[in-house]
């Protein structure tokens, strides 16, 4: 069997689930034939597809298999050392999105990643960057310590590139309330000189959240306008859709409802707890606001199956449903992280609702 032909065939398939299904079959085939090279290569393809065109859930499933193969076979270590580092980079970024992965496990992933980088003579830039990102919701001191180390380390071929280098700075500076520094760091991204698959929308998202939390809605709307068309109907950006729904719940609920209608199906299909939580928080904020609007909004204008959990629900009941869903997830994440960052996000508008009441 010509596995390289099989691999080329993936390109003809629609991205996301159809392609993942085809790669799954190829993995089974390679396993059966015990072709070590392709067993690893197909798993790499699967992980990559899950990271960029899925919700990273399947990446987390396949990675331990790759790790075992890599550890047990020296020839793989010789051939795939760089590719494996790249996979590891994706995994340390994705692992925190799954609350079932404990902090200790994530720490151990980071330690392995650091060791591997050092062994291959690579810069620790990417290690400090991803660890700082994770610790932003876990321990701000470690996030800060790693962030400044990240700035000192040179970029190399495992690093995320200059666009994400600056995006990380935006995210960090915003997390400590340094708006000016964040705007300075975002200059090249906003000017369109630096781009990546996820930028500039992820950078805009950082600013939307920053202004949203501070109730500076006009500023947040400026970035929302630049963001929305870039993230529509992409399961990868369910978290940004969630944030936009939170914002629109205050500024233009009708548009929030439009976003909900477009993305509810993606939410149901997603297996990524972090993305689902962010979406559920946004949906809760939106429906809570909608249920208070006068004159009352009559219907959701969305076709739902009878088995759908929110079928026939009123706006208030829908808000309660998403609160429950978000709250469950928020508790898991906050418990794992040992902070209450996401609880605070969920309760963002509580005071306002009380005031309105």
């Amino acid at each position: 069997m010509d596995f390289s032909q099989t691999e080329m065939g993936f390109c003809l398939l629609e991205r996301g689930e159809p392609r993942l299904a085809a790669i799954r079959e190829a993995i089974a085939e390679a396993d059966q034939k015990n072709n070590l090279f392709w067993r690893f290569q197909f798993r790499y393809d699967y992980l990559e597809e899950s990271v960029f065109c899925g919700d990273r859930y399947f990446a987390m499933i396949i990675f331990p298999e790759m790790l075992a193969l890599y550890d047990q076979n020296e020839e793989l270590r010789n051939h795939f050392s760089h590719d494996f580092l790249v996979c590891f980079r994706w995994i340390v970024e994705a692992a925190p999105e799954f609350p079932q992965i404990s902090k200790a496990e994530i720490d151990s992933y980071f330690r392995m990643f650091k060791k591997m980088l050092l062994e291959q003579g690579k810069s620790l830039s990417i290690y400090y960057m991803k660890r700082s990102l994770f610790y932003m919701h876990v321990d701000k001191a470690i996030a800060a310590a790693d962030f400044y180390r990240f700035l000192d380390e040179p970029l190399d071929d495992v690093s995320d590139g200059r666009a994400l280098y600056y995006d990380q700075q935006c995210m960090y500076y915003l997390s400590i309330g340094e708006e000016e520094k964040a705007l300075e760091a975002a200059k090249l991204i906003f000017a369109g000189k630096l781009k990546s698959n996820a930028l500039p929308q992820a950078t805009y998202h950082d600013f939307i959240r920053f202004y949203l939390v501070r109730k500076q809605y006009a500023h947040a709307m400026h970035y929302a306008f630049l963001t929305e068309h870039r993230v529509l109907s992409d399961p990868y950006y369910l978290d940004i859709i969630g944030t936009l729904m939170s914002l629109y719940s205050v500024t233009k609920p009708a548009d929030g409802l439009r976003l909900f209608r477009m993305h509810y199906i993606l939410y149901q299909q997603s297996k990524n707890p972090f993305l689902k939580m962010q979406f559920a928080i946004g949906a809760y904020h939106l429906f809570h606001a909608l249920s208070h609007i006068q004159p009352p909004v009559k219907e959701m204008m969305i076709q739902l199956d009878q088995e759908d959990p929110i079928y026939g629900y009123s706006l208030k009941e829908t808000a309660a449903y998403f609160y429950h869903e978000a709250d469950k997830a928020v508790r898991k994440f906050d418990a794992r992280n040992g902070t209450n960052d996401f609880s605070e996000m969920l309760a963002l508008f509580d005071k306002e609702f009380l005031n309105r009441g």
């Binding site: 003579g121 701000k140 001191a141 800060a144 310590a145 040179p154 369109g192 000189k193 781009k195 068309h229």
Partner: protein
């Protein structure tokens, strides 16, 4: 409860050096009190980093044993912290030998300890042998050879120095073996910019300068010294390298060395690293001894930081030289005593090379390699509408301005002072020129200065002469000079650069002093053409003021001189923008012939072309006399008919200026007849994938009837931005505008660079 987060933020908000060290020390103590072991180690590593990379290593050296002890007491932190510890250990090995207070036995124990720990962590012994070889080079050269061989034998590992540092070490080793050929070959990736880090190429330049100096090639030494100096200015951690430079300048240019001494003396007084102090003191001793040949007493106020008493006439040069000699001698004795050899004392007593040593090298050996020279002083004449102020009046004027005055000295018609402008120190000599001696000046007008106005300007005898050494790169320096003159003489009638032989109008001086992006490379130099129709000669005026040799071009004729003048102009602009002559392999510019064939022009092409010419030809002789300062047409890859590409730098400079001056543009545009703007429009993602670029530049015409906002009507259609068609309206903002053309009612067209010429433009 102990919260390290605010401490970390506070530390990183501080500048490197003493302030940050002190804040980290405070954080260390707080972590100690809280018994937060992870943070005790974290802050100590930060302390070691700060002391090693931005200081004299002294405090880091004192801190290290405690750091190691805490690490050993907490095996639970081994996995997280062992990399940091081994990295900091390397710094200890790098620096321990600098301190005579550390015994030989202790140093060898450190090496042994490092070796054992490296083995325990499964690290290659490459780093151990590298550090050992470096130590042995000054202590035991025979042992150094063995350590070096071992260093090369072991593979790189996670604790290895970066590739640039290893490459530099290789070079240093071959220099220690007096094998300059191998050293230069090894150093190529550093010299051509492929391998760099926080200390490289700075240290590489310094080591090469030092080597050439003590091998009787002070000119070559000075070349590397100048390169090094540009990298290490205001960096106290490079005090040792500054010592090397002082030594070199003591032979090649004591005046320049004196200036370096002035700016580095404070760092020397604060430094506690004996090796750095000794090297700097040795350089200062040689420099002052050289300067003492021309004057018995120094008047410079900066010397007051020294514990040397000022006599009535000033500081006695011999006393100053003795002061530095005693420091150097004392440390050399102690280091040699510890090392049980005479290495540093021999170094101190070594006779310096003769300044004319380079001249004694035969013509064949004198390979022209480099283009950097000392910066020649620049001269600017400011023409005033009144009698030029006296020195005392100038002093008053300067003190009344917003400039920070560092020093001031006035004599008759001359005012000598140092001032700070935009955080750049400027040494100025201002001379009030006597009206009766007003010399005729030969200059050309620049930047739209009306020739008739120039003719009138040259008749006015009220002139102030400013003499200065340009403090930074060409364009930056001119910006500072124009800003300075605009501050001091707002009522001026014009400025004449004697160096570039150009005259600038007062409005332009004001404009250029406000916006750095106004200055173009061509403002800094001129090109002159002379000779007969069949053999024309061209040269630049002005590059020498930036520390480069003037460029000369020979071999053009009446038919092709325009093309070759353009080539010379582009090459000179390249030099100004890069502050250096290009490296051999670097592309200076792309050339196209009439059939649009592309030719990259490299310096290598020029030197290769020379090889094809007979050694006794005029061109080769001239080239030898003026190393790297000559372009010769014969054999160049560029054909006779050439076109030069536009540079991206010019585009970005105009873009920056357009955005900086957008507010003024907004105000004046409505008073004009019409205006065309160039806008940058972002492509959507689909189009980016398709076209492989993210920004499209499109022209649009300002709608003069629209009064509320600045609206333009698209004048151009693009495939890549389907959202906009011809006739569509778009708001012009600082974000999307990149260039403009304004047409006035008298039919004149203006660009952003000519904004100052527009009536009523409030600059």
């Amino acid at each position: 409860m102990f919260d390290p987060h605010p401490l970390i933020e506070k530390i990183h908000a501080l500048p490197h050096g003493e302030a940050r060290l002190s804040a980290v020390s405070d954080a260390m103590h707080q972590a100690d009190e809280a018994q937060a072991h992870y943070w005790r180690l974290y802050f100590r590593y930060e302390y070691l980093t700060e002391s090693n990379i931005y200081g004299d290593n002294f405090k880091g050296l004192l801190c290290f044993p405690e750091y190691l002890r805490i690490f050993d007491e907490h095996p639970e932190l081994e996995e997280d912290m062992s990399h940091d510890v081994m990295w900091a250990f390397k710094w200890l090995l790098d620096n321990a030998a600098d301190f005579y207070q550390i015994s030989m036995e202790q140093i060898l124990d450190y090496f042994e300890e490092f070796k054992l720990r490296s083995q325990a962590y499964g690290l290659s012994l490459r780093t151990y042998y590298m550090k050992r070889a470096k130590f042995d080079m000054a202590v035991n050269p025979d042992a150094a050879q063995i350590s070096y061989a071992n260093f090369k034998h072991y593979p790189r590992s996670r604790n290895s120095d970066c590739e640039a540092c290893e490459c530099n070490f290789d070079m240093e080793y071959y220099l220690s073996q007096n094998d300059i050929k191998s050293a230069l070959e090894i150093a190529q990736p550093i010299l051509n910019g492929e391998k760099t880090c926080a200390e490289i190429p700075h240290v590489t330049y310094a080591e090469l300068a030092h080597y050439y100096f003590y091998h009787d090639q002070p000119t070559e030494a000075e070349y590397y010294a100048l390169l090094c100096e540009r990298k290490i200015q205001n960096r106290p951690e490079f005090l040792k390298e500054k010592g090397y430079l002082l030594e070199i300048y003591s032979v090649t240019d004591p005046g320049h060395g004196w200036k370096l001494l002035k700016y580095a003396l404070g760092d020397f007084m604060r430094c506690k690293n004996p090796m750095m102090r000794m090297t700097f003191a040795r350089g200062a001793y040689h420099l002052i001894t050289a300067a003492a040949k021309s004057t018995e007493y120094a008047q410079s106020g900066f010397l007051s930081v020294l514990p040397v008493a000022r006599e009535e006439e000033g500081w006695n040069m011999k006393t100053l030289a003795d002061f530095f000699y005693e420091i150097a001698d004392d440390i050399a004795l102690r280091l040699d005593h510890r090392n049980q050899n005479q290495y540093y004392q021999t170094m101190l007593k070594k006779p310096l090379p003769d300044a004319s040593a380079s001249a004694q090298i035969s013509e064949e050996q004198k390979q022209p390699q480099h283009g950097l020279i000392k910066r020649q002083q620049s001269q600017f004449v400011t023409v005033l509408p009144y009698t030029a102020p006296s020195a005392a009046q100038m002093e008053e004027k300067i003190r009344a301005s917003l400039l920070e005055v560092l020093s001031m000295n006035t004599e008759e018609n001359t005012c000598i002072c140092s001032v700070m402008l935009d955080q750049n120190p400027l040494d100025l000599i201002l001379v009030s020129l006597p009206e009766e001696d007003a010399q005729p000046l030969i200059v050309e007008t620049a930047n739209g200065f009306d020739p008739d106005d120039l003719e009138n300007l040259l008749k006015i005898p009220y002139r102030m002469l400013l003499v200065t050494e340009l403090p930074a790169g060409g364009q930056k320096s001119y910006y500072l000079i124009m800003k300075l003159l605009a501050i001091l003489f707002p009522e001026m009638l014009g400025v004449i650069s004697i160096t570039a032989m150009k005259a600038f109008s007062p409005a332009w001086v004001q404009f250029a002093g406000n916006y750095e992006s106004v200055i173009r490379p061509k403002d800094v130099y001129s090109i002159y053409i002379a000779g007969k129709a069949e053999d024309l000669h061209m040269n630049t005026f002005g590059l020498a003021s930036l520390g480069m040799r003037e460029l000369e071009l020979s071999g053009a004729n009446a038919d092709n001189f325009g093309h070759y003048a353009a080539l010379l102009d582009r090459t000179a602009a390249f030099c100004v923008e890069n502050e250096n002559l290009p490296d051999e392999g670097q592309i200076i510019t792309m050339c196209y012939d009439s059939e649009m064939n592309e030719y990259p022009l490299k310096w290598q092409n020029i030197t290769d072309a020379l090889k094809t010419l007979p050694p006794d030809s005029t061109a080769v002789k001239a080239y030898r006399e003026i190393p790297s300062g000559m372009l010769i047409t014969e054999g160049l890859p560029a054909p006779k008919e050439i076109e030069l590409t536009n540079t991206r730098r010019e585009f970005f400079r105009t873009r920056a200026l357009t955005k900086e001056t957008f507010e003024i543009f907004q105000k004046i545009v409505r008073r004009c007849e019409s205006a065309l703007v160039k806008l940058e429009i972002e492509l959507n993602e689909e189009m980016i994938d398709q076209y492989d670029y993210s920004i499209e530049l499109l022209f649009a015409e300002i709608d003069m009837d629209e009064t509320e906002k600045l609206i333009a009507v698209m004048a151009q259609e693009s495939e890549a931005v389907p959202e906009y068609a011809i006739g569509d309206r778009i708001e012009v903002t600082q974000d999307n505008i990149v260039d403009w053309r304004i047409r006035t009612s008298d039919g004149n067209i203006f660009t952003p660079e000519e904004l100052y010429l527009l009536q009523g433009a409030d600059l």
